[in-house]
């Protein structure tokens, strides 16, 4: 059974502890022996950075001015990223849990135990009794390996990845509308657009360096329309803020489409020549007058009209969106309804005219292309398509009947764990106790497992439940490619060796496969070997990497896929001539508005939405250990509008209890005018009793299977706590240098 019994000991041994300087302190007398150009481990902007290496230790960071995406710019997470490499919390040797305590083990001992348990479970409960849950902060080589490991190594159908919690709604929407899943334009198109329509993307906090392009566009005289329930820094800086009610994007977009049609701001020639299914969408939009839309989404009708005119009248414009519209049970529909605006006005496939989702994780794009997704094979191929199966089996040299069928999404996998259909789990690059919705159910799933093995480089809240923890590598300790949010494939370079007995992730996974007796499918000697096979496996697929080489990437500061041949320059801008459906046309989708699965009622009168802060990255397993970042944002809080706070008699800074149908948590109140009175917001980077996901709704989008993180019903209760928010308390009267010493 996978339980956490000695939490204090686990925290004492593995953190999170705060660490805030290079491994041997801040020193002025360093002799840097190499400068390694690479990319940030965090978000999908994939900023270039130079790591300063002294004696196999990463001791600092230097701006990489020559990488065109960021030109030296970094966010606070990027600047401090190197501090995780030699962090005292790093896992240095394999761990086996015995009598509730993690004990040091040798690699042979740990790997043999994993293999014995997997074999035992598969022998008595079938191949599918083991699940594999991977992530998209891995290099593309590793994500390819994880898909192949699950299917060819373990022979299980149950594999999925954490992009399921991130951008799958965008992926599904893009596939339905365009026949391919990739942002359509390079970011160098942004400054060429007169108008940007940005929906559900708090660019200031989630993609800080993307703001470089946004402000270039502004300097060129452009304007921004921002759709967000909160007045984020991005919304504040924009020209028109549509502060809608969470989960009502379809009504807003349909309302805008209505105005575009009424005022003849559509491009009929483009619609006739390059799209299908317009008439149903047009007829549907006819019913969503600005007044009707306004009633639903809470944005004044005149603002909807103004936004539609601004977007429709511009010669060049781009639509971008992120998790704010995608994390819904209507996530795919939200995406499709904004794509309708793009197609109706024909603003796509040309410089400054375009569309794109802003992918979240570092390799969110690459990680969803090469077969670690439940229904997918390398090259964005489908595991249900006989032709695609045949191609991949040929590359792998695997008999076709041994290739499993499609699995299920991660939230459904955790359901199957509770139903005992999945009894063993291998996870890498995720932290389920923070990131999955409905934390209490997730805990139940983990505790019910017969065997749980985690590959991690820090002990995450999720790995605490594991029976075996295998120490993997941080991003600077291995090489490989990632694909940023524009579709640009970039190269991560190795700066140092893993500390202690930690090993490269790909070695660990391959070693398990080898010991399972599947070594003939896993004879890779380096990430380059994996990349070379990936190129061939992706050949002819939508995400065609065949013509990309590591050298070509370095020479060109990245290559945009598809890149089908060795002399192909890559494809920065898609859809210039054709879309990727067989007839070359894009598809409209007539989308009717449906409310989120939970709407406020008397018992739970507020809409709870969740999101990120700039100082933390996703589940926080890396960033919640870095002193500087934690100091800026040490704990989650709940944003409440002053009107709502006044009704509930809640003061700023007071701890309150937030309750939903699934759970409750205590958070300090941040009383701010920058949120809607009917909405509250809690950032999600923390685990266990600090997790907003104790409250969130695990209901899924029927197509993308993304959970509804961005809208559920909640209420706030007063608890008369006198406890202060963490930092206010810690710093009372003390100088910063005293707090740091102490």
């Amino acid at each position: 059974m996978s339980r956490v019994e000695n939490l204090d000991q686990i925290v004492e041994a593995f953190g999170p502890h705060l660490h805030d300087s290079p491994h041997d302190g801040w020193r002025a007398d360093r002799v840097i022996d190499k400068v390694v150009p690479t990319h940030c481990p965090y978000c999908a902007v994939q900023c270039g950075m130079n790591l300063l290496v002294e004696n196999d230790h990463v001791v600092g960071v230097e701006p990489r001015y020559d990488f065109p995406v960021n030109e030296g710019r970094l966010c606070p997470k990027g600047v401090t990223a190197y501090l995780q490499v030699h962090h005292p919390d790093r896992l240095l040797y394999p761990l086996i849990k015995r009598n509730g305590k993690f004990e040091r083990a040798s690699w042979d001992e740990a790997l043999d135990l994993v293999v014995a348990k997997f074999k035992e479970l598969q022998a008595s409960h079938g191949k599918d009794s083991i699940g594999v849950y991977s992530g998209s902060s891995l290099t593309t080589e590793k994500t390819y390996l994880m898909g192949k490991f699950a299917r060819a190594g373990l022979g299980t159908r149950y594999v999925d990845y954490n992009g399921r919690l991130c951008m799958v709604s965008a992926a599904a929407g893009n596939n339905k509308a365009f026949g391919i899943d990739r942002a359509a334009n390079p970011w160098s198109d942004i400054p060429l657009a007169e108008v940007l329509l940005i929906a559900g993307a708090n660019c200031a906090e989630t993609f800080p360096v993307l703001n470089k392009f946004l402000w270039q566009q502004r300097d060129n005289g452009g304007s921004w329309i921002i759709v967000d329930p909160r007045e984020t820094a991005t919304a504040r800086q924009g020209d028109l803020h549509l502060q809608l009610k969470p989960g009502t994007d379809v009504a807003l977009a349909n309302g805008m489409l209505h105005v575009l049609i009424e005022e003849n701001l559509i491009d009929q020639k483009f619609i006739d020549e390059r799209t299908n299914d317009w008439s149903a969408t047009r007829d549907l939009a006819h019913r969503y007058s600005p007044d009707v839309a306004s009633q639903i989404c809470g944005v004044p009708a005149e603002k909807i009209v103004a936004a539609a005119r601004l977007y429709g009248r511009a010669q060049t414009a781009m639509v971008m969106h992120a998790r704010g519209i995608e994390h819904h049970t209507n996530g795919v529909n939200n995406v499709l309804s904004y794509i309708n605006l793009v197609l109706a006005t024909g603003k796509i496939g040309a410089p400054g005219r375009g569309y794109g989702t802003i992918t979240g994780q570092g390799n969110g794009q690459g990680g969803r292309e090469h077969g670690q997704k439940a229904d997918q094979l390398p090259g964005q191929r489908s595991i249900s398509n006989p032709e695609h199966r045949k191609h991949v089996c040929q590359v792998w040299n695997l008999p076709e009947d041994e290739l499993p069928e499609a699995g299920v999404s991660v939230v459904e996998m955790f359901q199957k764990m509770r139903e005992r259909e999945i009894r063993g789990l291998l996870s890498i690059c995720n932290n389920v106790m923070v990131s999955l919705p409905d934390t209490n159910k997730v805990r139940e799933s983990l505790e019910g497992l017969d065997f749980y093995v985690c590959i991690d480089f820090f002990m995450s809240e999720g790995s605490r439940y594991a029976d075996v923890v295998l120490p993997g590598s941080a991003w600077s300790e291995d090489e490989g490619v990632t694909t940023n949010s524009e579709g640009r494939v970039v190269k991560i370079n190795k700066a140092n060796n893993p500390p202690g007995e930690a090993r490269s992730d790909w070695w660990i996974v391959q070693e398990i496969a080898r010991r399972m007796g599947r070594g003939k499918y896993f004879a890779f000697n380096s990430p380059r070997d994996i990349f070379d096979e990936l190129r061939i496996a992706s050949r002819g697929g939508n995400a065609d990497y065949y013509g990309i080489s590591w050298e070509k990437i370095e020479q060109n500061n990245g290559i945009f896929w598809p890149c089908p041949t060795e002399d192909h320059p890559g494809t920065p801008r898609l859809f210039e001539e054709r879309f990727y459906h067989p007839d070359g046309k894009a598809k409209f989708h007539a989308i009717e508005f449906n409310p989120p699965k939970e709407v406020p009622d008397e018992e739970f009168p507020l809409i709870l939405t969740s999101g990120r802060v700039v100082y933390q990255y996703l589940s926080g397993n890396q960033t919640r250990r870095i002193g500087f970042l934690v100091q800026q944002c040490p704990e989650p809080y709940v944003e409440i509008h002053p009107e709502t706070a006044m009704k509930l008699k809640i003061n700023d800074g007071e701890r309150v209890r937030v309750v939903s149908r699934r759970g409750e948590g205590e958070f300090p109140a941040l009383v701010v005018r920058t949120i809607r009175p009917d909405t509250i917001f809690i950032p999600y980077h923390w685990g266990e009793e600090l997790a907003v996901n104790q409250l969130t709704n695990p209901m899924l989008d029927p197509i993308s299977k993304i959970p509804e993180f961005k809208a559920c019903s909640a209420r706030i209760e007063k608890i008369h706590s006198r406890a202060l928010p963490i930092m206010g308390q810690q710093r009372k009267g003390a100088s910063l240098s005293e707090v740091q010493r102490g």
Partner: protein
């Protein structure tokens, strides 16, 4: 004209990348010489970076009894020289911008020297290198003017004191100087309408307390 800093508050997204990057300078021992404050978090997400404005006649140097604060040939006002600094904190208290800080552990005044070590090698200062939005930029006056829709201003009037600085603030095009009237700052606070008592949000104090103590 030589290169200098341009601060554009409207572009600031409050990410504090500049604060983190400033610590990377080997001589700072992990302390940052730049500060980012919420203006009033209860009302807005607006934030603003503060770094040394490098005055043409620096008040900090004028009030230093030990002559510990030197100005370079290019007009960069340096940190206090360690052998000379008397721990008196005159500079900390006198600076009209509230920039120099006193390090209680190192017994030393510390402030921004515009990354003298980097700029002397032709590199941009760390804060201006990393700033995602260009809220902090480093370059020449004549290069930045055509790029922006704002106007660089370097005259600040604090009551009776007029301060010209090497560093520019980017302001609306009709502005010629920044006026901070001695009592006006508080006057605005006292006459605020709507029966609202202006209360500072806890999150403002959370990250800014050391700035207000003028201490590291």
């Amino acid at each position: 004209m030589e290169e200098t800093m341009f601060i554009d508050p409207q572009r600031c997204i409050g990410c504090r990348a500049c604060v983190a990057a400033c610590r990377e300078c080997a001589t700072h021992k992990g302390y940052s010489m730049i500060f980012v404050d919420y203006i009033d978090r209860a009302q807005t997400t607006a934030t603003m970076p503060t770094l040394c404005m490098h005055c043409n006649e620096p008040t900090c140097a004028l009030v230093c009894p030990a002559d510990a604060i030197k100005v370079s040939e290019d007009g960069v006002v340096m940190s206090a020289l360690k052998p000379r600094c008397l721990d008196c904190r005159n500079c900390v208290n006198a600076c009209p911008f509230g920039v120099p800080k006193y390090n209680t552990q190192m017994h030393l005044q510390m402030k921004c020297d515009m990354c003298f070590d980097r700029s002397s090698e032709g590199l941009k200062p760390m804060c201006a290198s990393v700033c995602p939005t260009g809220a902090i930029s480093f370059g020449k006056y004549e290069q930045i003017v055509p790029l922006r829709r704002t106007k660089p201003v370097n005259v600040h009037v604090f009551g009776n004191q007029r301060v010209e600085t090497k560093v520019y603030l980017m302001l609306p095009t009709d502005a010629d100087e920044v006026k901070v009237d001695g009592c006006g700052v508080f006057e605005g606070m006292l006459t605020q309408g709507d029966n609202e008592v202006p209360v500072e949000s806890w999150i403002d104090t959370q990250v800014e307390e050391s700035d207000k103590n003028n201490e590291f």
